[in-house]
């Protein structure tokens, strides 16, 4: 079994190595990936979307529907983890287990307490300023979740701190609802779904798009943070050993 797998691997690797020779050279400005669709996005992107970060502009404005699908995917993964591991909500009994108790080191506690406001501020900055600097919704959401996970890890998971799993699920669903809701809002005003240009705000067109993008990024950040917190809670909960079922 393992020998045939190894043989198939070597054959596939040889085919791939041979195929790499036929690709266009790296960095060629005339390669097919750089000449068909992307010049239009690069040249009209910052003007139309008002976002200097072209990747965020593409992700939230031109291809906003893909981002909605991706948010749904990550929310579904959170639901799947909930189904797999959450037969009962994790009961927070303080078992004598090493992840449940705090580390007991004052240095760690002090360092975490010092660093947390900066991390949260940085996460908020990354979400809100994502249309001009590298960043955006996903990165900010992951940073939020990382901060809360850090605090939970150093204080022991038995301490009742931070969002409980129910509230993490609520945060995640509100993120998805916000995203889809902004899309529906533009349906009410006569445009297509997720077309922010038709919202009747007293701003020039690119600013309206920036505001719509900001709403979407906040929705994505909430969803990502909620789902990551939920999965972390599920993975570190203490259960008695189940014999049947």
């Amino acid at each position: 079994m393992k020998k045939t797998a190894g043989l198939i691997l070597i054959i596939a690797a040889a085919i791939l190595f041979r195929a790499v020779d036929t690709l266009p050279t790296i960095g060629d400005p005339q390669s097919p990936s750089a000449t068909h669709v992307s010049p239009r996005y690069i040249e009209n992107g910052p003007k139309e979307t008002g976002a200097a970060n072209m990747v965020t502009g593409v992700l939230a404005d031109y291809r906003g529907f893909d981002t909605l699908g991706e948010t749904t995917v990550i929310f579904t993964a959170g639901l799947a983890c909930l189904l797999l591991l959450g037969a009962t909500w994790p009961n927070r009994q303080a078992q004598p287990d090493s992840m449940e108790w705090p580390f007991g080191s004052a240095v760690l506690e002090a360092a975490v307490r010092f660093a947390t406001p900066f991390m949260l501020l940085f996460a908020t900055y990354v979400v809100i300023h994502g249309h001009d600097t590298p960043g955006g919704g996903f990165q900010g959401g992951v940073l939020y979740a990382t901060t809360l996970i850090l605090i939970k890890l150093t204080r022991g998971t038995s301490i009742k701190w931070g969002p409980s799993p129910q509230r993490a699920l609520l945060i995640a669903s509100s993120g998805v609802a916000l995203f889809a809701g902004i899309g529906f809002l533009s349906l009410f005003f006569g445009g297509s779904y997720l077309d922010y240009g038709v919202l009747p705000l007293p701003f020039p067109s690119s600013t309206i798009r920036t505001i719509g993008t900001l709403g979407i990024e906040i929705g994505v950040a909430l969803t990502v943070a909620g789902v990551l917190l939920l999965v972390f809670e599920m993975l570190t909960a203490w259960h008695e050993k189940e014999d049947s079922q």
């Binding site: 790296i26 390669s31 970060n53 502009g57 993964a77 996903f138």
Partner: protein, 88 residues
């Protein structure tokens, strides 16, 4: 875990497609001047790769949840022991 390494390899592949010679990061340098397509690298594969990274987190999370569940039910994660327990 091997799935994740494969994922990173695929992402590297896509990002190298997007590179152009003497072109810089796809963030517009100034708000007034027009952005020429020969000055910035292609931003489209970056957007696809962000989605890919997020999907890989989801897959990893669900796979780990599955592993923990299997361990709770059967008490082991070794393939041979699992197969013998399933046959009982």
């Amino acid at each position: 875990m091997a799935m994740n390494i494969l994922q990173v390899a695929v992402i590297i592949f896509f990002i190298t497609i997007a590179v152009k010679d003497q072109a810089t990061v796809p963030i517009a340098q100034s708000h007034d001047q027009p952005t020429l397509s020969s000055h910035y690298i292609n931003p489209l594969p970056h957007a696809l790769m962000l989605t890919a990274i997020v999907v890989s987190i989801s897959t990893t999370g669900v796979a780990l949840a599955l592993a923990v569940r299997i361990h709770r039910r059967y008490g082991t994660l070794e393939e041979t022991e699992l197969l013998s327990k399933l046959r009982e």
